[in-house]
Each structure stands twice: as structure tokens, then as C-alpha cells.
């Protein structure tokens, strides 16, 4: 879930409770306010009625509410003295303008006592009050309206304001996603301190990473490189020793074995160096390479080996296929794939190379079980323990394909191992 939506959810949930609570508090406050104001009005009426009664005693005869909003009843002095002003809520049958028949309506009632020309009276004054359920309904509608309005505003702010604020962050994130070691470090211009801090932290991290990678690369490069001369000396010395002759067959055999081991080391070393160089992007002289030509030449180089292993290599071309790349790397890809297909083959097996407009497909017979694709291209992955190969052939293929962004896919179909190299 995006940050924007997340903040929207938090805000709408908390706003819901805030506005709900506010509505309840507001309702009670308003209701109290209304009552106070009605009470003041009643008090006012009371004074006017008492004042009027002194001038016009007929008022004192209004014994019920039938004619007006007050009723007067004579009481004893003792009762009058004991009475204090009381306000109460009560229900009365009343007929409003919009009512057909009288209905019970909430009213506020003031009960008080007064003295007029030595007589004591009880006065009750009423005033119709606001209907509670109407008020609640109205208030609920208003609160809901306010809530929806606020949400709409928040969405607006989120989308237009926050998105603007977060823009540097998303731009930074996108750059970071595309970042590969060796590229320029991701960078955005922003005034926001947090983003600047983030940028600094990430840059430091990337720098450290790049340095480690660089050191590692250099180490492999240097190690392989420094091994070259001692390996040269060892091979050459043993070659000279064999050349000298006068060896017991057993001694010669041992020396031959040692030479083989050293040669394996040399191959391993060369492959590691090649890998390092591919990853260092040290092959720069790209030109248009015809894969038809490269395949032809590589098949030619492999002819004798394939013959010896009783493997038939056939090539079918439906189109001319070219790519812009380094020639020796093109040879490395094709010849490694072909060698792989020949060496991991069976007696009387076949290797079929198909060159189409967009891809080279190499199919070969071999073991009846598919190989796991994740392990296939990893370094030093070997399927058979008895091979003398370096286990780097397909890793080299993969590295070159990655360098030029050619997708390479392995499939196992119809009992054939199939490598497809797609050229853009």
C-alpha cells in the first residue's frame, strides 16, 4: 500500500472518531445553551405577566393553558413562601401550524409564585422547546457532511500537496531501483532535510558497497594476474623436464598428471580473468558481428572433438543474425554454449543450432533430467564430477549476456536441453 493511501486511512479513521465525539459534545452544549436561553425568556415572561396582572387583574383568571402560554392558580401564603422558581421539561399536546391535530411536543415549564394585592398565586409559564430527535437528526447530517468534506479535502491535499512533497523521494527511489554498481550515484535536488539525510546515508552506503565490490574485483584480477608468471614457470619447467627424456614411465606419468593439473589451473585462472574483465566492462571495441559467421567458425573448431565423441552438429539458418558487440565475446558465448552441448552429450547424440532472425537456439541430447536453471549459470556448478572443465563456461556466457542485455533461457523439452539466446 502506498504511503499516500496509508496516511489517508489513518486520517479518515481518526477523523471519524474526532468528529463523532465533537458532535456528541456539541449536541449537549447546544442543548444546554438552548435551555438557558429559553429559561431566560420564561423569566422575562414571568416578570411581564406579574407586571400586567397588577394593572389588569383579569389575567389572574387564566387558569389553564388553553388560551395562552401561562396559567395562574391561587395558593396559600405558606405554599407561596415554600415555592421556589423551578424549570422543568415536560410534554404537552400542542398544535403547530404544520400539524393537523394536536401532538405532544416538548415544552419548558417555569413554576413560580407571586403576590398580587395581598393574594398569592402560582404561575406556570411554558415555552415550546426544540425537538430532540429533530436536533439529533440535523446534527448527524451536518456532522456527516463535515466528515465527508474533510475527507475530500484530505484526498485533495494528499494528492496534490503531499505528492509534491514526496516527489523527490519517489524520484530518488526510482533512480535507486535502476542503480547498478559503477553507475552514477542516485541524486535528487530537494530542500527537505529528511530526504537530504536519506540521500547522504544511501550514498555513503553505496560508496562503501562500490568500494568493496571494486576491491573484490581487483583482488580476483590481481590474484589471477599474479598467478600467471608462477604458472608459466611451473608448466615450462615440467615441459623441459619431460623433454629431457631419460624418465621412468612412472615418473613421466606423474609429471604428465602434474602438467594436466597445472593446465587446469591455467584454464581456471584465464576464465576468472575473463569473467572479471567482462564484469569490468573492459571489452570496448564493439562492432557489427555476424552470428552466422561466428557459429560457422565455432562449429568448425569443434568438428574434430564432436567427431571423436560421435556427436553430430547440424546448423540451420533461416535468417542473417547480427549484433553490435565485441567479436571475441561473441565467440566466447557461442563456443562455450556449443562446447557445453558437445561435452554434456551422449554417444551418437546430436547438437542442433538454429539461427533465426532474433535468436540462436542450441538443442542437444544429453541426460534425461532437466537442470535447475538457477544453478546452471552459477560459477563452479558442475553436473558431473568427472569432468575436467572449470565450471565457469556458462557463468561466462551469462556474464556476457548480462553485459549486452541479451536474455538467455534454458528449457528442457522433448528430452532435449535447449539454450535460447535472444538478440535484440
Amino acid at each position: 500500500m502506498k504511503l499516500l493511501n496509508k496516511s489517508l486511512i489513518y486520517l479518515s479513521v481518526s477523523l471519524f472518531f474526532v468528529i463523532g465525539l465533537w458532535t456528541v459534545v456539541f449536541y449537549f452544549n447546544m442543548f444546554r445553551e438552548i435551555k438557558e436561553s429559553i429559561d431566560e425568556g420564561l423569566e422575562n415572561y414571568k416578570r411581564q405577566i406579574i407586571y400586567q396582572a397588577q394593572k389588569d387583574p383579569t389575567i389572574l383568571n387564566k387558569k389553564t393553558f388553553a388560551e395562552g402560554f401561562f396559567a395562574i392558580r391561587e395558593i396559600s401564603q405558606a405554599q407561596a413562601v415554600a415555592m421556589t422558581d423551578t424549570y422543568t421539561d415536560t410534554i404537552m399536546l400542542m398544535q403547530d401550524a404544520d400539524d393537523e391535530a394536536p401532538e405532544p411536543e416538548p415544552v419548558r415549564l417555569l413554576k413560580t409564585a407571586f403576590e398580587n394585592h395581598g393574594k398569592y398565586y402560582e404561575l406556570r409559564v411554558i415555552n415550546s422547546m426544540v425537538e430532540e430527535d429533530d436536533l439529533v437528526k440535523e446534527l448527524f447530517r451536518e456532522a456527516l457532511g463535515l466528515y465527508l468534506l474533510l475527507i475530500a479535502i484530505i484526498i485533495f491535499i494528499n494528492n496534490f500537496v503531499l505528492q509534491r512533497l514526496w516527489k523527490p523521494f519517489y524520484s530518488f527511489l526510482n533512480q535507486l531501483k535502476k542503480y547498478r554498481i559503477g553507475n552514477k550515484f542516485p541524486e535528487v535536488k530537494t530542500e527537505t532535510q529528511e530526504f537530504n539525510d536519506l540521500q547522504k546515508a544511501v550514498t555513503i552506503l553505496l560508496q562503501r558497497n562500490a568500494e568493496t565490490y571494486e576491491q573484490q574485483k581487483q583482488f580476483i584480477g590481481n590474484a589471477s594476474h599474479e598467478l600467471q608468471t608462477p604458472l608459466a614457470i611451473a608448466t615450462n619447467k615440467l615441459e623441459l623436464l619431460i623433454e629431457k627424456g631419460n624418465l621412468q614411465p612412472e615418473q613421466a606419468e606423474n609429471i604428465a598428471e602434474t602438467i594436466n593439473i597445472i593446465e587446469r589451473l591455467v584454464r581456471l585462472n584465464k576464465s576468472l580473468l575473463l569473467l572479471t574483465k567482462i564484469e569490468n566492462n573492459q571489452f570496448l571495441d564493439n562492432k557489427t558481428v555476424s552470428f552466422n559467421e561466428v557459429v560457422k567458425q565455432s562449429v568448425n573448431d569443434l568438428e574434430e572433438i564432436a567427431d571423436y565423441k560421435n556427436v553430430t552438429i547440424s546448423v540451420s539458418e533461416t535468417s542473417e543474425l547480427t549484433a553490435h558487440m565485441n567479436l571475441s565475446l561473441a565467440y566466447a558465448v557461442v563456443s562455450n554454449l556449443l562446447r557445453n552441448a558437445v561435452f554434456h552429450n551422449t554417444e551418437n547424440g546430436t547438437v542442433t543450432v538454429t539461427i533465426s532472425e532474433k535468436a540462436i537456439t542450441i538443442r542437444n541430447t544429453g541426460s534425461k533430467t532437466p537442470i535447475s536453471e538457477t544453478q546452471l549459470f552459477s560459477r563452479f556448478h558442475k553436473t558431473e564430477s568427472n569432468t575436467n572443465g572449470t565450471g565457469l563456461g556458462l557463468a561466462i556466457v551469462k556474464a556476457i549476456c548480462d553485459l549486452y542485455e541479451f536474455p538467455i533461457v534454458y528449457r528442457f523439452e522433448n528430452d532435449l536441453h535447449c539454450f535460447e539466446l535472444r538478440i535484440k
Partner: protein, 225 residues
């Protein structure tokens, strides 16, 4: 034939001297920049084997000086650096060949001879041994004045053996020379045996007075009968 070897690693220098002495070359050595500079200024050599990374300086610098002095050196660069840049720069500066360490003795031998032959004034481009003639220009093989047809690889194999007469040629060295450098997965070189068998058959049928003999299962040696 006088050869100067410029190499700072004593053990390698010694094996190179040992190996090239067998070819009856006159050999001089230099193990740092200054001694190499001095020798190159004072004498002329038929071939100079030049290491690039030397104490006190670079082999490429020596090459430049040699070129400025107008000396034809037949320089073969021997370097642990398999960098294309160095290779191109070296060849641009007038080096005749570039060999990356580690190399087989047979390969170095073949390269030296090829370089010397290429720069010989008579322009003769044939190798003559016993009753055989290998013409590198026409790519033909003649025994007793009759042409023996060889396919491309048989010709390359024979050429390699002739350049390394009486010397051990290991199967690996042969495979790398004839079948290219990408032999990463060649788990065995048994297939070479069949190639050699065919070649031997052709040599015997043509009554060539040279033969290819196996050496302890690790390689072969071409000798005159």
C-alpha cells in the same frame, strides 16, 4: 641467431634460456629496464622477448626507444597482462607478436621462428626438413616433389610440429594453437590422437622422412628419421 630475453622473474628467465638454448640460439638476458636499455642500444638482435612490467620502467617504453633508434628488433611481448589495450599499443609500437603468460614452450618457440622467418630478407616462406617442404604462403605440403593434400587443420598441426622439431609439443599446446584459445571445457584431448593418427598415415604413405612420436602420453615430438 641472437636473442635478447628481457624478463625480471629469474625462474622464468632460466627456463626460457634453457629452452631456447636447445634451438642453438645465442642468448643474452636482461632483468631490468636499464640493463635492457643498454643492451638494446649497443647490439642488434634477431629477436627480443620483452616483458612489459619491469623494475624501473615499462617494456612499452623500451619498444618506443627501439623504434625511434630505427632498429628492427623482431620484438615479441611476453606479458602477464592479457589486456587488449596493452596488446594494441604494443603492436602499434612495432612489436611483432604478443604472448600472454602462461604459455607453452612450444608456442613461444613457434612464435619466435615465425617472427624471424617473416622478417627475413629473402622472403622465403617455406620450412624444409629432410625430404619435405611446407610452403606457408601456398599452404602446400610437398614430399619428394609430390604434393600431399592436407586439410586446414592437418596443415596447421604439421606446421606447428615442424616449427618445434625435436621438441615436445603437449596436447594442450597443440589444441590451443590449432583449435583456438577458447578451450575452456576441453575435458580431454583424446580427439587429438585421431588427428595425429591420420597425419601419420599420410606421412607414411608419402614416404616422408619425418615422423611424429608420442612422448609419455602427454604430447608428441616430430623427428627426422
Amino acid at each position: 641467431m641472437k636473442i635478447l630475453i628481457v624478463e625480471d622473474e629469474p625462474a622464468l628467465l632460466k627456463t626460457l634460456v634453457d629452452s631456447l638454448t636447445k634451438e642453438y640460439f645465442v642468448i643474452e638476458t636482461a632483468n631490468d629496464f636499464y640493463s635492457a636499455e643498454e643492451k638494446m642500444e649497443l647490439y642488434d638482435y634477431d629477436c627480443i622477448l620483452l616483458d612489459i612490467m619491469l623494475p624501473n620502467g615499462s617494456g612499452l617504453q623500451l619498444l618506443e626507444q627501439l623504434k625511434k633508434a630505427g632498429k628492427q628488433g623482431n620484438v615479441i611481448i611476453i606479458s602477464a597482462k592479457d589486456s587488449l589495450d596493452d596488446k594494441l599499443k604494443g603492436l602499434e609500437l612495432g612489436a611483432d607478436d604478443y604472448l600472454t603468460k602462461p604459455f607453452h614452450i612450444a608456442e613461444l618457440n613457434a612464435r619466435i621462428k615465425a617472427v624471424i622467418r617473416r622478417n627475413q630478407l629473402d622472403g622465403k616462406n617455406t620450412i624444409e626438413i629432410a625430404n619435405t617442404v611446407l610452403d606457408l604462403k601456398e599452404r602446400t605440403f610437398v614430399v619428394n616433389n609430390t604434393i600431399v593434400p592436407l586439410n586446414r587443420k592437418e596443415f596447421d598441426i604439421l606446421n606447428y610440429f615442424l616449427l618445434n622439431k625435436n621438441r615436445l609439443v603437449t596436447k594442450t599446446a597443440l589444441a590451443e594453437h590449432v583449435w583456438g584459445d577458447n578451450t575452456d571445457q576441453a575435458d580431454n584431448y583424446d580427439f587429438i590422437y585421431y588427428q595425429i593418427k591420420n597425419l601419420r598415415k599420410k606421412l607414411t604413405e608419402a614416404k616422408a622422412e619425418i615422423e611424429i612420436e608420442a612422448v609419455y602420453g602427454i604430447g608428441y615430438k616430430l623427428t627426422e628419421q
